[in-house]
């Protein structure tokens, strides 16, 4: 009896095998999120997920190097502009998931849909003996002299968008003031947060919110403040490559990512879920004031913006 069951199971597995091709996902962090999504997806569909997780830059570099013979089926980046560029290059497969009905229009296009959304904020250490900041400009005040870090816009796409948006909305005076107030530019996002946690610095100007919120949840002395004058958001586009050899499986993966279960996994990492009907564990998109942001204009003058910024903060 046992033997026949095993035989049956094996036969069934073999018969089903062609339908169970792996789907390969290249994704920016967090690692925990893609692990949860991959496990949940495999449990539901039986399709195995092969994951490569790195920074957005590394993911994009690998895609470019592999362009002659692409490996990935699904790509999840932390920069919406990368999706726009890949769409313009004709690399993406158009797909509208039935589960994207509750995703607001500005978080989806024909070829990409947000997995979740992060925003930039002030990450402030309440033990730092500084007054709680309410807006970006508070960090240019004497109380924060030599007490502020900022991610490098040349290394962090979201920090670049913040710089571009602030300059477009308010001119570059507040950034100049920030530089003359002794703020330092400290590498990529994680590097800017650590000095604030230990108390070497009091606040991060432009911290990635979900990382700081997760740190706060672990008991770190850090408070995430969304500035009164507004901030920029970074939707994380999920896309299917046109070159995918398993487009049906890839579509199923996008469906799962946008399912309630998938979006709850997104919310658990303190990101804002892309679907408005899934609750966030933090202030949602509707509650955030956003700075006006013109993607095309910002990226069109990226070099000049970065050069100007580097000049302001040159020592």
């Amino acid at each position: 009896m046992r033997l026949s069951l095993t035989t049956l199971a094996t036969a069934a597995a073999m018969a089903a095998a062609p339908a169970f091709a792996d789907v390969t996902v290249y994704t920016a962090g967090p690692a925990k999120l893609i692990d949860t999504l991959a496990k949940g997806f495999t449990a539901k569909t039986g399709i195995k997920v092969d994951v490569y997780q790195a920074t957005t830059g590394k993911v994009m570099a690998r895609l470019q190097a592999e362009a002659a013979h692409p490996v990935a089926d699904v790509v999840i980046s932390a920069s919406w502009d990368s999706a726009t560029a890949m769409t313009n290059q004709g690399l993406l497969l158009p797909y509208t998931s039935p589960n994207s009905a509750h995703v607001p229009d500005f978080l989806k296009s024909d070829t990409a849909v947000a997995e979740g959304v992060s925003a930039l904020a002030i990450a402030w250490n309440p033990n730092s003996e500084t007054p709680e900041p309410k807006d970006w400009s508070d960090l240019t005040k004497p109380a924060f002299k030599d007490k502020v870090t900022m991610p490098d816009p040349a290394q962090s796409g979201s920090a670049f968008e913040l710089v571009a948006a602030l300059e477009a909305a308010q001119g570059d005076q507040s950034l100049k003031d920030l530089a003359s107030n002794g703020a330092i530019v400290a590498g990529a996002n994680a590097q800017a947060l650590n000095p604030v946690l230990q108390g070497a610095k009091a606040a991060v100007f432009g911290a990635v919110d979900y990382i700081s919120l997760a740190a706060a949840a672990k008991g770190e002395a850090v408070k995430v403040i969304f500035p009164a004058s507004g901030t920029v958001i970074a939707p994380r586009p999920a896309m299917i490559l046109k070159s995918s050899s398993h487009p049906e499986e890839a579509k199923k993966f996008i469906d799962y990512m946008l399912s309630e279960l998938g979006q709850e996994a997104v919310a658990a990492t303190y990101l804002m879920p892309a679907r408005t009907d899934v609750a966030a564990k933090r202030p949602g998109i509707a509650e955030l004031k956003r700075l006006p942001f013109d993607t095309e204009k910002a990226y069109g003058s990226r070099k000049e913006t970065l050069a100007g910024f580097a000049k302001m903060f040159a020592k």
């Binding site: 997780q53 790195a54 590394k58 190097a65 362009a67 013979h69 070497a200 770190e220």
Partner: protein
Amino acid sequence: MRLRGGTEQAVLAALTALALAIFVGLPFVFILLQAIFPRIGAGSFKDPFAHFAGLVSAGDLPIETANSLLLGVGTVALSAVLAIPLAALRALTRLPGAVLWDLLFLLPFMVPPYIASLGWILTLQPAGYMQQLCGVNLAWFLFSVPGIVFVLTMNTFPVVYFALSRSFTAIGGRYAEVSRVAGATPLRAFIRVTLPLSWPSLAASLLLVFAMAIEEYGTPAVLGTRIGFRVLVTGIDGSISDWPVDLPKAALLSLVLVGLATLAFFLQRRLLVRRGYETATGRAAAAPPRAPLGRWRWPVLAGFAIVAFLASGVPLLAILATALSRTISGGLVPANLGLQNFRAIVANSSGAFSALVTSLGLALITALSAGLLGTLTAYVASRTNARLRGFIELMAALPNAAPGVVVALGLILLWNQPALPVTPYNTLAILLLAYVFLLLPQPVRFTTAALHQIGPSLEAAARVSGASAVRTLGRVLLPLLLPNLLAAMLLSFVVASRELVASLLVLPVGRQTIGTFIWSQFDQGSVGLGMAMAFVTIVVTTLLPLTVLIVARRAEAAL
């Protein structure tokens, strides 16, 4: 003097050249192609040199090149100043606790430089561990060019210390005694005889330090960014750290870096080539007469203790303190300390454990492959007249200071060609290829230095006695090379087991290495968890080679 090339030597040379072409030459060709043709990834040769003008006019290139040089030369100088006296005292005097100091100076090898730098930041920045314990901070020093050179030196000077103390022991025993008999004082004998005869070891190890310093990413990245100190490697990684990425720029900058290292390599060879340094004669060397320290005993011990504390004590304690902290902001108070991060590592044992096994296994195979290929390369290059010698020397020089990111890029471009029927890409073998490429210079340098000190008369004697070239290599040279080769292989093992930059880009899907596992924790703000994994790794990578060394020493003693 070189031996005549026989058929055996020609075959050996051809095989070595073939292996080098596959491991080094082909990936390098693709790095070159990427530097010239921006769209080579898509298989297109359009717009060659399109980005050259922009790169030069931006003005970054000369500054970054100058900064890289400054960092390399500074680290070499400080390493020499520190390591020469320490090695001399270790080799030529009756230093109490000699083996303990060796162990303490071995530890900095085991600490990945980017993690050591993070440890230094957590210790020296305002409100850091030093301020929590003694009320002052040294941020002004740490975040400065001398600070970066200091942190790098703490990580690299042991290379010079170990190479020199071995060399001093070997030379001091015989030649210094002769000069003493001729009436020289111990100091004079050291300066006039032992030190000059150790020149090959010194030059080889300083060259290695130079290459390590200019190819190091983590330290200048975490310490240099905030003072605007940019070097070539940070420029390379910056161009692919976030959207938009610039692969041609990365490839071009890395060619400059490789150029610098190759220049240093040929400079070293030019300095060595015209003089004889043969000190190994095959006769058992007498143990050197070690001078008593007398009243210098305590100052010398204090000096060793201070260096050991700075090189291994501070980084290790900082890593441990962070790994034991519940939160970073909680600081060093008993209520904030616990084993939760180590427990989390055990709980995530599948991820952490498989990363450990993957990295250690790959590192072992890397050490063996690089050791074999490196020895053959050094042998063919310095002992034969084979026609392929020039090519082999070039191939051996190319990986010098090649940055991991770009090596990874070259490997993807090469091995992901659609025309290939089988490919190592997206398997663990691609990591092996990357590690062998990056680490090949280690065994080549170490065995070349050793070959320079072995007189050709030994091989001539073997050949006259009728031994074939392969037999001479295996029975005469290899045993004499073994100590140096073992050291190079241990170094390769340790560096490969924690390699991050290349691994991150060519990681096969669904795999983690130790380096990427730790990085992934840091990237998401879990510094404590990353440090716990780093600590476990340091313990494992210290104990494994230590066991090998002890066994090797026992075996040596038994002979």
